[in-house]
């Protein structure tokens, strides 16, 4: 049990994931800045932001259900860190400690979004409520597409649910992305990640210019810092999930460390590029995008997987 707690809190859990996620968030901001011909923040800026927020006054909305309002960012961090640990342990080839299969990870990855929604409706702010309903509709949209990706990967891995085995099979046969169906699945997975991270064009729930932060409108000070931590951890967890599912996993020894970091950076770079070159979609548009187009591509990929392409 103590070992599990170590995994959860230190490595590859909270501390490591926050450090890694903070770095990725810097990378994202730096690339964005360069694309806009700005200099961009220094490396430690995401951490400064968090520390500063911890020191700020926290304002609690009068109509809120306070318990839920305070606890939901904690649930978000817990869900994000749990999923991150369950992804990174097999990704780093660590077989000891607690484990979960691909379906468990799929469900845990939903918890941060769900927590934001609960926090938003608990705040009692109508704009947060609007954001919550948008976020929920977005979840309904991408959840099916992501599940189809997961199902296709399960199919490719010979009905194995263990992330360890999925990585092992890719080690033997080459990463799943090196096939026609793999490329299609990668496209769908990337779009789902984009939506899960609530980056443009899917930032409908917190649309700053429109509903002033939506689901996060009432968060400030310490609780906002929690939200930032959860978001950073997710920025590491989701690209790692894609890397494990389709890119052959991550390794934590020798020259492979370099390749692993490149994989993650590549995925984050793609996300950043998409978010800097697209306008925000409406809720209806993004639901249609996932429900019709992404699901269609995923189904085609599954049929291709079935016939062995």
């Amino acid at each position: 049990m103590l070992r599990d707690i170590f995994y959860f809190l230190i490595f590859p859990g909270l501390l490591f994931a926050f450090a890694g996620g903070g770095f990725l968030s810097w990378f994202d901001r730096k690339v964005t800045a360069r694309l806009q011909f700005r200099v961009g923040p220094p490396l430690l800026q995401p951490f400064y932001d968090c520390i500063k927020l911890f020191g700020k006054e926290t304002i609690i909305p009068a109509d809120s259900a306070q318990g839920l309002f305070f606890l939901s960012p904690v649930f978000a961090v817990a869900g994000a860190v749990l999923s991150c640990v369950l992804i990174l342990l097999p990704a780093f080839g660590m077989t000891s400690g607690f484990a979960g299969d691909i379906i468990v990870v799929f469900y845990l990855l939903m918890i941060p979004s769900l927590s934001y929604i609960i926090g938003a409706i608990a705040s009692g702010n109508p704009l947060a409520g609007l954001g919550a309903s948008r976020e929920m509709k977005l979840i309904i949209g991408y959840e099916l597409s992501l599940l189809l990706v997961v199902a296709a990967v399960i199919m490719k891995a010979g009905h194995s649910l263990s992330l360890h085995e999925i990585i092992a099979i890719q080690q033997q046969q080459g990463a799943f992305i090196w096939s026609l169906s793999g490329i299609l699945l990668f496209i769908v997975a990337m779009m789902c990640v984009q939506a899960k991270l609530a980056f443009v064009p899917f930032d409908i729930a917190d649309a700053e210019t429109e509903i002033a932060g939506g689901i996060f409108i009432e968060y400030s000070g310490t609780i906002l810092a929690m939200v930032k931590i959860a978001k950073s951890v997710m920025l590491l967890a989701l690209p790692s999930f894609v890397a494990v599912l389709l890119l052959g996993g991550l390794y934590f020894y020798g020259i492979h460390i370099f390749w692993s970091i490149l994989k993650i950076l590549g995925v984050v770079l793609l996300i950043t590029l998409v978010r800097n070159t697209n306008p925000r979609l409406t809720t209806g548009q993004s639901m249609r995008f996932f429900f019709i187009w992404m699901n269609l591509i995923a189904v085609v990929a599954i049929v291709m997987t079935y016939i062995g392409w």
């Binding site: 926290t58 606890l71 817990a78 845990l108 609960i118």
Partner: protein, 623 residues
């Protein structure tokens, strides 16, 4: 020893129920207290029965009360050949939960049913239902089974009639649908007799290779589907949920009818019949169809009790899917989900009843901010909502996870139904996401947001209401936290048989880590308290919020979905009841009788022509 417990769990509530008819309605609370006592005794004996070994026996109908050789004595002796009883791990488990729900709902009913909304002889029918449910589960002879099963249809009707002015028509609809399905089941039993099989449930093993075998299965499955509320025979459940007293909804459609219907379905799919590939495919279609149709309807409801009613339908889909798989993993998932669903769904109905009792409102839009005045109910509803949506580490996730594992494992087989595993998995999981969506609406609309001034004075901490809900919520948490190391191996696998998990879910470890996170989070908040926490008005872009018009109407959360024309048409059709099997049947029957009514013109020559024509036809046939 075994037989005496069996007699107590069946006959004690029935006899107590009949005796309660003698007490006047004025002493309703006394009746309630007596019912609670009877329910408690039954629960104790179901508990003892649970730890007895499996056995077969005959129900003693009391022939020794009559003189040997007298008419009644002879009759009862002959009847006893039909009174075969059988217990195994499945039936003992179901009886245990029937006992638990009877006790919890009887406690709640005592407080809930105030005179104006009270169906007559509520507790009499309540106890008879409980006894008959135990009887049906423990019966081994098909005819005895259908006898108990049929009485439950009648009491279901009696537990709603007289609640409000609209409830009479709902009661009629329920009665007709349940009654018709019982009729179809009897037809199924007749087919089994025709096939020459003995009518013992435990000994039956019918192959569905022949047409008659398939017909018998479909007839009996229709009965199980109607009772449990699965598509396409589900339409009485939402109506019942909206117009019956919440305690009746929590007792029958949410828990006992589910337990019974799915119990019988489990027997049908996994021991009485051997399903062929096409039937498996059909059952899986019915399962995922029920999930999606139920939840899509729930998403758009504004009446919160009706919303719960549609979820009572939707959740059945998971159980049907699990049992249709037929593998130990699928059976375990279906069974675990059955128990979990009964726990949180009856809890949700109890909470809905509490809200309705205190506010008198039926629609989500009229409510809001009740979490401040009814904290216990809110806590319970929050747990139930997360559990029903399958959020780890609660119990709903554990059972859904088992079903998903079952589907994936099932996909390795060669049949057509096996090859379509992605379809079953995708629809089951998207159903889960949609469930979450409608419960976000449920929680936010009723419990969160601005507390309207008329509800500020509501006193929502009455023990009789809160205790049953809190108990159910705690059981939900326990079943979730200890799912993988205690509940599944200790309770579920005893029934389903052993199986190896393809996946890994460590419920207790995850729960401990979640507890650590909550503790750490609270510690951080506590440490940072020095920086100040200030309560202020919500920020609405600098405007002042008008609570009469300015709140976000939760009822409209998912209106975007109806932006799609096809979906909008389907919803409109559903509102007009185009897809309701009851209304379709009613329209058909009334249409035919309208056509035939011109025969009854009252004109003598027309009647004469028909008589002569009939005679001619007979003449031609018999010549």
């Amino acid at each position: 020893m075994f037989m005496s417990e069996l007699h107590i769990v069946i006959f004690l509530p029935v006899i107590a129920g009949i005796l309660l008819f003698l007490l006047p309605e004025r002493v309703f609370t006394l009746k309630g207290v007596l019912s609670v006592l009877v329910a408690a005794v039954c629960l104790i004996f179901s508990f003892i029965l649970y730890f007895e070994t499996a056995a077969t026996g005959t129900l003693n109908l009391g022939k020794e009360f009559f003189k040997d050789g007298s008419l009644l004595n002879t009759l009862l002796k002959q009847t006893e050949s039909f009174a075969a009883m059988h217990t195994d791990n499945l039936s003992k488990l179901i009886v245990l939960f029937v006992g638990l729900f009877t006790l919890i709902v009887s406690v709640y009913s005592t407080g809930y049913l105030f005179p104006k909304i009270r169906p007559r002889h509520y507790f009499s029918y309540f106890l008879i239902t409980a006894g008959c449910a135990n009887g049906a589960v423990l019966a081994d002879h098909m005819l005895l089974f259908i006898f108990f099963w049929g009485i439950m249809g009648l009491t279901l009707y009696k537990l709603i009639k007289g609640h409000t002015s609209i409830s009479a028509s709902t009661a009629k609809k329920t009665f007709i649908m349940i009654g018709a399905s019982d009729g179809i089941m009897i037809l199924g039993i007749a087919v089994i007799m025709h096939l020459g099989f003995p009518l013992s449930i435990s000994a039956m093993d019918i192959h569905t290779g022949s047409f008659a075998g398939v017909a018998a299965f479909l007839c009996l499955a229709a009965g199980a589907f109607t009772k449990a509320g699965a598509f396409p025979f589900h339409t009485w459940v939402p109506d019942y949920a909206s117009y019956a007293p919440a305690s009746s909804s929590a007792f029958l459609p949410a828990s006992l009818d589910k337990l019974l219907g799915i119990y019988f379905l489990a027997r049908l799919c996994n021991s009485m019949f051997v399903l062929n590939d096409w039937l498996t495919l059909l059952m899986l279609f019915a399962g995922v169809g029920t999930i999606i149709i139920g939840v899509m309807m729930a998403l758009m409801q504004k009446d919160y009790k009706r919303l719960l009613g549609y979820h009572a339908v939707s959740q059945v889909g998971y159980m049907v899917t699990g049992f249709a798989l037929g593998t130990p993993l699928g059976i375990a998932g279906g069974l675990f989900h059955l128990i979990n669903n009964a726990l949180y769904k009856s809890g949700l109905f109890l909470a809905a009843g509490h809200v309705e009792r205190l506010t008198g409102r039926h629609t989500i839009d009229d409510l809001g901010g009740l979490s401040k005045v009814m904290p216990v109910t809110f806590f319970s509803v929050f747990v139930f909502s997360l559990a029903i949506s399958g959020v780890p580490p609660l119990n709903g996730f554990a059972s859904k996870w088992l079903i998903y594992q079952g589907i994936i494992e099932f996909g390795e087989g060669p049949g057509l139904a096996n090859q379509l595993w992605v379809v079953w998995l995708a629809l089951a999981i998207i159903g889960s996401a949609l469930t979450l969506a409608s419960f976000i609406k449920f929680i936010s609309g009723i419990f969160l947001g601005h507390t309207k001034s008329i509800y500020r004075s509501v006193r929502g901490k009455d023990m009789l209401y809160c205790l049953p809900q809190a108990v159910l919520a705690i059981i939900c948490i326990i079943f979730g936290v200890f799912a993988s190391n205690w509940v599944i191996p200790g309770i579920i696998q005893k029934v389903s048989g052993d199986f190896a998990y393809p996946g890994i879910w460590e419920s207790s470890t995850v729960s401990v880590l979640v507890m650590i996170s909550i503790f750490a989070g609270l510690t951080i908040y506590w440490l940072m308290r020095g920086r100040g926490f200030r309560v202020d008005k919500a920020f609405v872009l600098g405007e002042t919020q008008d609570h009469k018009t300015g709140g976000y109407p939760s009822g409209e959360y998912y209106k975007t979905i109806t932006g799609n024309q096809v979906i909008r048409m389907i919803y409109r059709g559903a509102e007009k009841k185009y897809f309701d099997i009851y209304d379709i049947a009613r329209e058909t029957v009334l249409g035919i009788s309208k056509r035939l009514s011109w025969l009854h013109s009252g004109i003598l020559p027309v009647y004469l022509i028909w008589i002569i024509a009939g005679l001619l036809v007979m003449l031609i046939i018999f010549m």
